[in-house]
């Protein structure tokens, strides 16, 4: 899958989870950049991404991923 398509679909997920139509994610995007993205919402986000792409993150990845770019790398390796 191309990067562009992945980021498109991610945008949909993010907008849905955080209820904000204006979100556009980039590789450098971190939890600091999105207002409601705290440790509580993180899991919801992760699960939503898993469902969107039909993949599973393992717990280690969940707790250590630093930005959207890392998330995308994992998605690409799983598809």
């Amino acid at each position: 899958m191309e990067n562009e398509e992945i980021y498109e679909r991610l945008n949909t997920v993010f907008r849905d989870v955080f209820d904000d139509e204006s979100i556009v994610v980039k590789p450098e995007t971190t939890s600091k950049d999105i207002e409601d993205w705290d440790s509580l919402e993180h899991i919801n986000l992760v699960v939503a991404v898993e469902q969107e792409f039909g993949i599973k993150f393992n717990m280690n990845e969940v707790t250590t991923m630093k930005n959207v770019g890392e998330m995308v790398d994992i998605i690409k390796s799983r598809i």
Binding site: D19, S39, L40, H42, I43, N44, V46, V47, N58, M59, N60, V62, T63, T64
Partner: protein, 510 residues
């Protein structure tokens, strides 16, 4: 070993001396011997040796097994679960049997059954609540592939018993500390200076502030009939500071020592009392405990099938916004009850550092939209200093209230204390006399106020970067002046020696 005792001072001097004289490849082994001595100090018996061996052997053996069967998730999962159960089991047996007994006794009393379970007392090792959870995290991390198992049983033993963390933590993670813990460390003058300054600051917080406040709090709480009203209110507010200076002071002491040896431990505090909400507070207070619970309980719980199914159902019934909150709050409630239990096998802890904290966070979250509406209607601005001040004070008061339970000897005792606060006696504060009759005289109060202001200033400065860094940039006269003041403040105003009964390290009993 008391962190501010002469014994510990001697211990550190000897250990540091041998550590830096030894050939670097044996340094970790020196640490192991020192840690074993610290672990079993004044507590060497067949029972304690067995306790330690159970946890060590379980972690070591199952760690290797989980690693070995990495490819077969089923097998490695079984080993993981057995390993966790054994470690958890010994922790529960040694620390929480009384909780069961107390609960059952209450139930029996409720049904007027004349039978009481005897409360047992087990001699557990110092740091059991820390190393048990740390070794569980070790096994889980191996399972998750975050680190590899340690094949050398002695090195594994060092990770489990590293003496700086035995008294009050912090919770360490294997993959973060592995390199430095077993590494080679050359003596570094700057590290020694920086470490010493941090340790001294910790000693100051413990001996000058925490012990001093303790004298007042103990007096007031020790005689509820005499000390009521404003005495109680001040004691409640003071206890929070006692807890903070005691706990963060102990952390500073051991972080400094560990830093001298070249082993950097994760921070546990980040000026928590400048937090504006209880939610924010717990991101800055006992940080490593929060991180442990988040990574090993909260996330796995939230991500579990059960919670996800619940999530879907709730979203269907209550709508997306409210629906997604329900599994969240449920997981949080479970987590907070566990935090409460971790602090101690008594209901005072479960309420004080468990249920009440959950309640505050829950209310903060659910009431936020309403409070925003009200603020908008009333024209109250949230970015201004006065509002932030209100938030900080409110957070402090909420936390102090919860700590009434934490400090009380029982729930009934806590309720008595709360009732005591409602006695009207403002003259206690105003007559310039009475307040000095509750364990601290006017001199002690003066020193305490000055010390607390110092603590406040240092913590405020720390929010914009390391205070030690800032200090090191100043000129030598100022730097040395500050150091001499710190050292002599400890020597002159420290509560040690005859006439002072040391209030124990609050977090040492975990």
């Amino acid at each position: 070993m008391n962190l501010t005792s002469l014994v510990f001072l001697m211990f550190c001097i000897i250990v540091l001396g041998i550590y830096f004289i030894s050939p670097k490849k044996f340094q970790w082994f020196i640490l192991l011997i020192s840690s074993i001595i610290f672990l079993f100090w004044n507590n060497l018996s067949i029972s304690t040796i067995i306790q330690a061996l159970v946890v060590l052997l379980t972690s070591y053996v199952f760690g290797i097994l989980i690693d070995k069967y990495h490819d077969s998730t089923k097998k490695s999962k079984i080993f993981l679960i057995i390993g966790i159960l054994i470690i958890l089991g010994q922790l529960i047996c040694l620390k929480y049997t009384n909780l069961f007994s107390i609960t059952i006794n209450h139930i029996l009393k409720l049904f007027h059954i004349d039978f009481k379970l005897e409360l047992l007392h087990f001699n557990s090792l110092v740091g059991i609540s820390y190393y048990s959870l740390i070794m569980i995290s070790y096994l889980v991390d191996i399972y998750r592939g975050a680190c590899k198992s340690q094949r050398n049983i002695f090195k594994c033993a060092l990770f489990m018993s590293y003496f700086p963390i035995l008294t009050s933590g912090p919770f360490i993670r294997y993959n973060n500390i592995e390199k430095e813990l077993y590494g080679k460390h050359k003596f570094n003058y700057d590290s020694m200076c920086r470490g010493l300054v941090r340790t001294l600051w910790g000693v100051f917080k413990v001996l000058v502030i925490s012990q001093r406040i303790g004298m007042f709090v103990d007096t007031v709480y020790g005689d509820l009939a005499t000390y009521t009203g404003f005495y109680t209110i001040i004691a409640v507010l003071f206890f929070t500071l006692q807890l903070y200076s005691n706990f963060s002071g102990s952390i500073d002491i051991i972080m400094g020592i560990s830093e001298i040896m070249g082993i950097h431990l994760p921070e546990n505090f980040s000026a928590p009392f400048f937090s504006k909400t209880i939610t924010e507070f717990w991101r800055n207070w006992h940080i490593t405990l929060g991180a442990w619970l988040r990574d090993y309980i909260f996330y796995p719980l939230l991500k579990s099938n059960f919670m996800q199914k619940l999530n879907k159902k709730c979203k269907k019934i209550f709508g997306k916004k409210i629906g997604k909150k329900i599994p969240l709050y449920l997981s949080m409630l479970i987590m907070w009850i566990l935090i409460g239990i971790w602090h101690g096998g008594a209901y005072t802890y479960i309420i004080g550092s468990g249920l009440l904290q959950f309640l505050f966070i829950f209310l903060e979250d659910t009431l936020e939209p309403i409070s925003n509406k009200i603020n908008n209607k009333l024209g109250i601005r949230k970015e201004v200093f006065s509002y932030k001040l209100y938030q900080v004070i409110r957070t402090y008061l909420l936390f102090s209230f919860a700590m009434i339970f934490f400090r009380a000897s029982s729930v009934g005792n806590a309720i008595e204390i709360i009732k005591n606060m409602f006695v009207w006696n403002p003259w206690v504060l105003l007559d310039n006399k009475s307040i000095y009759t509750a364990g601290l005289d006017v001199y002690d109060f003066r020193i305490l106020i000055i010390s607390l202001i110092t603590l406040f200033v240092v913590d405020k400065l720390s929010r914009t970067g390391s205070v030690r860094e800032k200090l090191s940039k100043q000129n030598i006269i100022f730097r040395w002046g500050m150091l001499y003041i710190l050292i002599f403040a400890i020597i002159i105003f420290g509560c040690y020696g005859v006439g002072y009964n040391p209030v124990g390290f609050i977090y040492e009993n975990f």
